[in-house]
Amino acid sequence: MSTGAQYVVAAYGVVLFALLVYVVAVGMRTARLAREAELLARLVERAAGEDEEAPVRTPEPADASSASRT
């Protein structure tokens, strides 16, 4: 390969390398977003589970007496 061709390969190689670095950076950011989305999904599922396990409220005595009068 001639010296001129080596410089051309170097210049285009730099551009390709930069694009690859960017793709890796985007991939890492996407992985972080996926981790956070998973964490939030677990939090939502846990919150939903706590709501289901909460005890059923019994009617207030005052409500019961007023209901019997009518």
């Binding site: 001639s2 010296t3 001129g4 061709a5 410089y7 051309v8 170097a10 210049a11 285009y12 730099v14 551009v15 930069a18 960017y22 985007v26 950011r29 996407t30 977003l33 956070e36 989305a37 939030l40 939090l43 939502v44 919150a47």
Partner: protein, 234 residues
């Protein structure tokens, strides 16, 4: 409030990305297999097609940042700040590529990596450093002040772009060639056509990366909002 999300940005990204990939492949094929070799520089001149295209695209990116900055100052909508900061980031990355590929071309053509007396090289470096300072300024403020300062800076910094563009035309002593003049391009049509294809491909890369960045920022922002809401409810 609708429970469905807007899928149009993702579709636009897919279309732009596919077109850009096809154009880039066509440009590389044209530059290396169809365009003739330069009589003076030989194969080294092939660097020109992407070096100049990336330089112009970086200046376009700074122009987009300036316009988005003005739009933010007028409307105070955060989405314009997102466009502005993403454009500056992409433009800055492209500027670094321009300096590196330019240095390689300079070494091959002039025998030196850098010429401090050349106005084009020095003014382009000034533009690069000015836009690098944008992120320093951005990180020094919080909330609405951050957006306002960044918008004002992106508008002010854009003044350096015409300075870089016209420096080589105004200054007398330089080694950097001027390919595009008022009388037209100083190259045969067989080269010009592939430069135009390369330019459109690089502008496509800018648009694709810009859309990708905006989508990622949108996802990040949505996740932060949900996280804050859940933490507040807990």
């Amino acid at each position: 409030m609708s429970s469905t999300t807007d899928a149009r940005p993702a579709r636009r990204l897919a279309v732009t990305g596919a077109l850009t990939a096809a154009l880039t492949a066509l440009a590389v094929y044209g530059v290396f297999f169809v365009a003739p070799e330069d009589a003076d520089q030989g194969i080294i001149q092939k660097i020109f097609y992407f070096h100049v295209a990336i330089a112009i695209a970086s200046l376009v990116a700074f122009g987009v940042a300036c316009i988005a900055g003005i739009a933010y100052l007028r409307t105070r909508q955060v989405r314009f700040d997102e466009v502005s900061s993403a454009s500056v980031a992409i433009g800055l990355g492209m500027s670094v590529l321009v300096v590196i590929t330019g240095s390689i071309w300079a070494k091959a053509s002039w025998g030196t990596w850098w010429v401090w007396t050349d106005p084009r090289l020095v003014t382009f470096l000034i533009v690069l450093l000015l836009y690098a300072a944008y992120f320093v300024l951005r990180s020094s403020a919080e909330g609405e002040r951050r957006y306002r300062y960044a918008a004002i800076y992106s508008v002010a910094a854009f003044a350096s772009v015409p300075l870089s563009f016209y420096s080589v035309r105004v200054a007398r002593s330089f080694v950097h060639p001027v390919v595009f003049t008022q009388s037209g391009a100083n190259m045969p049509n067989s080269m010009l056509i592939w430069f135009v294809v390369s330019q459109v491909a690089v502008l496509g890369i800018f648009l694709t990366v810009l859309q990708l960045e905006l989508l990622q920022r949108r996802a990040d922002s949505a996740l932060r909002r949900v996280k804050a809401r859940l933490e507040a409810a807990a």
